[in-house]
Symmetry: C2
């Protein structure tokens, strides 16, 4: 089994590549749910939906979220009725939130809902939410503490960031299959996702980081930072607030206690020696996923790096 | 003030007529909520929505419910995700249910939601749900007891009816303004709605029937039964199960303890003497609301009959 820790858009694209190079039944994705929130009384799971709908071939590729060809009739009328309209929800999209909310209220777990949805939409890889308990990511800003989606979407990341809080994470458990998946995987991949608000919430779960330190599987991350900037999203202010350099080296530092290999872009090749000084192997390649070929290439490089690491360290104790 | 007890389609059309002949600010409608139910975790209020959207000029006139030009993207996807699809909900339509559910969960009453919606959609008459508490109408059939919408929409009224139950009605209260409205009205109208499942739930509320018996306002009903059959809907088996003749006379019997005047159709003129023997005045006119002119005519006839009754009985004790 190949286990991937995943955020939203970057992870979904990376998983599309992985699907081209290994059989789908060998892939599991553990998806961030820190972005989950309730709006209009509906439970919205942005990253789960982006991953599921991307792999189902349903995503609006241009914007990276939402369903291709979706309409916004309901949203317009929610606005007429005085509802909040800052978070756009398409009519098809809304079906996922309505159905998820109904199933959760009937007693299903988020894991069960995620599994039911990916099967209904024809996704053959296993999709696990990071936890069945809510662990909302709050951003602490100069304008106060707020949910990540409020910071990012409603206020367009305009507030100065002081820190991040994963509310209730101490009491949350990794979803069924997550720790077992880490312990039993042949390789663990960290998708090129935001280290603070996509991978960060997963790593903050009790026992998660320890399980990564203890697994025998090689752990390979793909840097979401290329040439000192994220491919997408608000990683820069969030990394800076965490005292991290916004670079592939900063990524290596974030994960250095458990990471074996970091795949970095060619433009960052000069950072390789500093990364290796942290005890993390650096593998340099083209990491920009322009299309299917580049996605498959990146997945192949990451898996090969993991295999090479496992071969080189076979029979030896882990040194990190 | 003119207070109208209302069900769905027939009542909405009757209120359209009333709006043509008296100022909107003098009209209140007390609307059946026995059909309300929860589907997809959403609070659906069929009669409130039919009345509100009809008066807002938004209704799909051909089918009598739903919003003109509405699409069904969300519904199709709810089906894909394994949700129930027997109750059609348009994308615009869904906005009402989503917003209503969210507001109720935030602590608003159904009365507050109904008032907010009718204002948001530009309806100038006052719309009151019959109660802020749920009083689901159950139909007792040979196939078991079930919610009215399950009997009527899901199972297409195919089961033999034995009776009707308004679940929890003993503990429910008329919504704020309902009893006061009955006591203070200049005229009380019963729209041509189903006597068992539209007007019936309203009348079953504690104190409601007593308030109708005690009010000084004339009470005028328009018969929904014309020529021995309802204009629309499942009145026949429901009236039969209640031991009532499916005729304007049956309607008069249902309401005879408080009714002053029954407006009946010309085709039922021969029933007038039997109706008057019950102590109910019968007024004969064309009651079929084909278009705006007929709607206004019916409202005028009903109001005039009430005025005539009030004038004739002025200064005398009520005799019923």
């Amino acid at each position: 089994m190949i286990l991937t820790l995943a955020g939203g858009v970057g992870a979904a694209r990376f998983l599309e590549g992985l699907l081209q190079v290994v059989p789908p039944e060998t892939i599991s994705a553990v998806v961030n749910t820190g972005d989950d929130f309730v709006l209009h009384g509906l439970h919205i799971s942005p990253d789960l939906d982006i991953v599921t709908c991307t792999l189902a071939g349903l995503i609006d590729v241009a914007q990276g979220w939402g369903i291709t060809g979706d309409t916004a009739e309901c949203m317009e009328w929610l606005g007429r009725l005085g509802g909040p309209t800052w978070f756009k929800l398409g009519d098809r999209d809304l079906a996922l939130h309505i159905r998820r909310t109904a199933l959760l209220r009937e007693g299903a777990t988020l894991s069960q809902v995620a599994d039911q949805f990916r099967r209904a939409l024809g996704v053959s890889i296993r999709i696990l939410p990071m936890s069945d308990q809510p662990v909302p990511t709050h951003i602490i800003t100069d304008a106060g503490e707020m949910h990540f989606e409020e910071y990012f979407v409603q206020r367009r990341a305009a507030d100065a960031v002081r820190g991040v809080r994963f509310v209730g994470v101490e009491a949350a458990a990794p979803a069924p299959g997550v720790l077992e998946g880490i312990a039993g995987a042949e390789a663990i991949l960290l998708a090129p996702s935001n280290p603070i608000v996509s991978i960060g919430p997963i790593l903050a779960l009790p026992g998660l980081r320890q399980a990564l330190r203890e697994t025998h599987a090689p752990i390979i991350a793909v840097s979401p930072i290329v040439g000192g900037a994220p491919i997408k999203g608000p990683a820069a202010p969030l990394m800076q607030a965490a005292g991290l350099e916004v670079s592939a080296l900063g990524i290596a530092r974030t994960y250095q206690d458990f990471l074996d290999v970091l795949v970095i872009d060619e433009v960052d090749a000069s950072l390789a020696p500093a990364i290796e000084q942290l005890g993390v192997r650096a593998v340099v390649t083209d990491t920009i996923m322009r299309g299917p070929a580049e996605k498959a290439h990146l997945a192949r490089v990451a898996l090969a790096a993991g295999n090479a690491f496992a071969f080189a360290t076979e029979g030896t104790e882990r040194t990190e």
